[in-house]
């Protein structure tokens, strides 16, 4: 049984169909990536899994064998799925520490205390700045905070939406090293990226989204070598 099983997912914004019947799986311990251009439906897919958007009829979203449909968005995190959203969306007027505490909102404080140490291990810079307002952090640090905040719920599945967006190449490398480290410790990750090169280089498997449909899928290594993927997404 897959950890996350998506079947025939359809999501519309009014009359516009953003996701048109996609199906995919994420197995325990994997990094799976969804790559594709702007408007392909990647973020829509993640937001639907997180409960922020409602899919149309006949869509199936199953996590650990249980359907997630009909569960209100604020209860999804309690089922073990955390989304680190596109554009980070940290709480800029709150301190780093408070942001992380919000990430553990559904858990009791004693357990959250252990997890915060785990987060600081991976993001030592957050520990240095724990009392600083999140709005005063640099873009890369805000991305780290958003990821740390998502980890605070101790998710079975961590969904990352465009973690490299707007970051300098050296920071992109740092963020991906952290994703790799989290994976090595057994975290299951569903990664959405426009930076296909980076995403394919750390993922186990990948799906290519084009205008709401999956056009290609397979082991990330194979897609990295695929001529069509190279041409469309890897700039060569």
């Amino acid at each position: 049984m897959s950890l996350l099983h998506i079947e025939n997912l359809n999501v519309s914004y009014g009359a516009i169909r953003a996701v048109k019947g996609i199906s995919f799986d994420v197995e325990e311990g994997e990094i799976v990536t969804l790559i594709g251009a702007n408007g392909a439906g990647k973020t829509t897919t993640l937001n639907t899994i997180a409960g922020l958007l409602k899919p149309t009829a006949y869509s199936q979203v199953t996590f650990e064998g249980k359907s997630l449909l009909g569960i209100p968005a604020h209860k999804i995190v309690g089922h073990g799925i955390a989304l680190c959203p596109e554009g980070r969306r940290v709480f800029t007027g709150m301190s780093v520490q408070d942001n992380l505490e919000m990430g553990a909102f559904t858990r009791d404080d004693a357990e959250a205390g252990e997890t915060i140490e785990f987060v600081f291990e991976h993001f030592p810079r957050l520990k240095e700045r724990r009392n600083q307002l999140a709005g005063t952090l640099s873009g890369g640090e805000q991305q780290m905070l958003a990821m740390g905040r998502a980890l605070m719920s101790k998710p079975r599945l961590l969904m990352l939406d465009e973690p490299s967006m707007g970051l300098a190449p050296i920071l992109v490398q740092e963020i991906f090293d952290i994703i790799q480290a989290l994976h090595d410790q057994g975290t299951t990750i569903l990664l959405v990226e426009q930076n296909a090169q980076m995403a394919l280089s750390i993922a186990d498997r990948a799906y290519v989204l084009e205008t709401g449909k999956i056009s290609m899928e397979g082991p990330a290594r194979e897609l990295l070598a695929d001529e069509r993927v190279k041409k469309a997404y890897l700039g060569g």
Binding site: A50, G51, L52, P72, A73, H74, K75, I76, V77, G78, A82, L83, P85, G87, R89, V90, F91, T92, G93, M94, D98, E101, M102, G103, F105, T106, D109, G135, L137, S138, G139, Q142, R149, A150, S153, G166
Partner: protein, 293 residues
């Protein structure tokens, strides 16, 4: 001595504005709506307290508690029935609904309590404070109003910065979507804010009527609008801003009344708002946080 007396009276009136402004600013911060019915909740609070004391013969403290409980429930019910269905509607629709709720509350009070003014007897029966050989006399109501305001400010600041629910409230006011992802129930948080705001309005109503004892169905509307002015003056959405704006506005009003003229006092208050909006539209403590992307 006259200036000092006016200053203290201004701070007292300003404290009432500040308590009301808190309700405006907290609701605005989280629900992004201006609850123009907020002023009328003050009136309802004062009527509940008045009825409890005058008709039921309850002690003053019971009247205050009953009033707070009644307004808290009223706030939650109004939010659930009138505003929650409009959560995703354009803000103009919500604004018009709030004005509708305001008229509804005023007319309900008119129907139940009648149009003749009730004389609210102060709930505070302590002797006045005499300083400087009786040259400066401060009524107990004045002192108590300021004290209550300070206590509320401190309690709210602690609540929003130290408790999990308070932090969740701030998270919701910054980014509802992200707050939802954290597992925060945005709807129940908004309910909670309406409850707190309306409970505070009840306290403000009792304090206001203790100082200015005429109680009518329209009693809440003018202080409501002035408190809204105070909230904008201090920077809407900001809790310390509401306190600062309220106290400043109260002092300005009392001084205008004393040195410019009773008739012009309200005009001066609103002129201050206009000047503020021209110079610093975000308000004294309002912030335009630039976001990094």
């Amino acid at each position: 001595m006259e200036i000092l007396t006016n200053l203290i009276n201004g701070m007292s009136l300003g404290s009432v504005y500040a308590i009301i402004a808190l309700g405006y600013t907290m609701v605005y911060g989280i629900a992004k709506m201006l609850n123009f019915a907020h002023g009328d909740v003050i009136m309802v609070g004062a009527y509940i307290c008045f009825c409890a004391i005058s008709y039921l013969g309850l002690p003053a403290i019971a009247g205050v508690i009953l009033s707070v409980v009644g307004c808290t429930v009223l706030g939650i019910v109004v939010e659930r029935l009138a505003y929650k269905p409009l959560r995703d509607a354009p803000s103009l629709n919500v604004l018009i609904t709030a004005i509708g709720v305001s008229y509804f509350l005023q007319n309900a009070a008119l129907l139940i309590m009648g149009s003749d003014p009730k004389s609210f007897s102060s709930i505070i029966s302590l002797p006045a404070l005499r300083l400087f050989d009786g040259q400066l006399v401060i009524s107990a109501t004045t002192v108590l109003t300021i004290v209550v305001c300070v206590v509320i400010m401190v309690a709210l600041t602690l609540f929003t910065t130290k408790t999990k629910m308070g932090k969740a409230m701030r998270a919701c006011s910054e980014d509802r979507g992200a707050a939802t992802l954290m597992g925060i129930n945005v709807n129940s948080t908004i309910s909670m804010v309406f409850a707190i705001g309306s409970g505070l309005a009840a306290i403000a109503g009792v304090l206001l009527c203790s100082a200015y004892p005429t109680l009518m169905p329209t009693t809440g509307s003018m202080p409501g609008i002035k408190a809204f002015t105070a909230a904008v003056l201090g920077g809407i959405g900001s809790i310390p801003g509401a306190a600062l704006g309220g106290v400043l506005l109260g002092i300005i009003e009392i001084f205008a009344r004393a040195y410019i003229g009773t008739q012009l006092a309200d005009a001066v208050v609103f002129a201050v708002l206009i000047v503020m909006l021209l110079i610093k539209p975000a308000g004294l403590l309002g912030k335009n946080v630039s976001e990094k992307v």
